[in-house]
Symmetry: C2
């Protein structure tokens, strides 16, 4: 099954993390491939790295929209090993029950990765695993390919009132 | 801050679990009060009960819409200790960074708990803690009270094609 968490609201990443916890709790094997997330910043990373049954990979850690000294070109270049990792999983025959591809919708939106190739790889992964792809602005082709799509829709957000990003909530 | 995860789509509970993991990863103290969820069924329970820093309470475990031998009246009765637990937290002076009230929107919708009393308690909790309330059909008064509201909106779901609930995904 191919699952997409998209939309402008909060909960895309946290829902994927919750899904990882649920899956691990059932004794399943899980792989998380994360883009654009600096280490030792997001609280969940401290817990996830300690859990049995999870293989955790992180690429292109500097987010080009948050960290000014990374160019879009550099960010794109740094996404390539993430695609190589997916290809490695496909060809290795290693079986995960769940594979989470975090923020890949952003990489697709910015053309950091090739959409056609990515969707083909996701289909291959989904033959053996459930696959969750997160990030705002999921392209229509990915939505068409997916079995389950949820839009996290912002109804109300304190950012609009000038409240800043907070530890334990946003990271 | 008062946060509400509502809507018909997938991700309300898993986003709250992800938020718990994020918060625990920052070294915070968290309390989870869960309604309508049988033990040894949901995968996340196996992981959450093993994590340091989390106090986990579960009430009215038999879901009246899923388990036929529980009446609505019995379910309502079994929600009372959950409200007592919230009152206990308010009056004890015990400080949590995050308190998650899982599926309380359902209890509100079914009038198992009193809306006015519940919202008053949530406001009191939010003086010391971030509070997340989950469940479909959040009442307008709760949305008005909340700071951050996300609607998990179903764009596409395989249930519509007759696919059944699956281990590691829905539980």
């Amino acid at each position: 099954m191919i699952i997409v968490n998209t939309g402008d609201g909060k909960g895309k990443t946290t829902a994927a993390i919750g899904q990882i916890i649920r899956s691990l709790g059932q004794g399943f094997k899980v792989c998380l491939i994360q883009l654009f997330k600096g280490e030792n910043f997001y609280g969940e990373q401290n817990v996830l790295t300690k859990l049995d049954g999870l293989d955790f990979f992180s690429f292109s850690k500097e987010h080009p929209f948050c960290i000014k000294d990374v160019t879009m070109q550099e960010a794109a270049e740094r996404c390539k090993p993430a695609i190589s990792k997916i290809k490695e999983i496909v060809s290795s025959g290693k079986v995960y029950d769940l594979i989470v591809l975090e923020e890949f919708c952003i990489a697709l939106r910015e053309n950091f990765i090739d959409k056609t190739e990515f969707i083909k790889l996701v289909k291959l992964l989904s033959e053996k695993s459930d696959v969750i792809i997160t990030g705002r602005g999921a392209p229509q082709e990915l939505i068409d390919t997916a079995d389950l799509v949820t839009e996290m829709k912002e109804i109300k957000h304190p950012y609009a009132k000038g409240v800043k990003s907070r530890k334990g909530i946003e990271f």
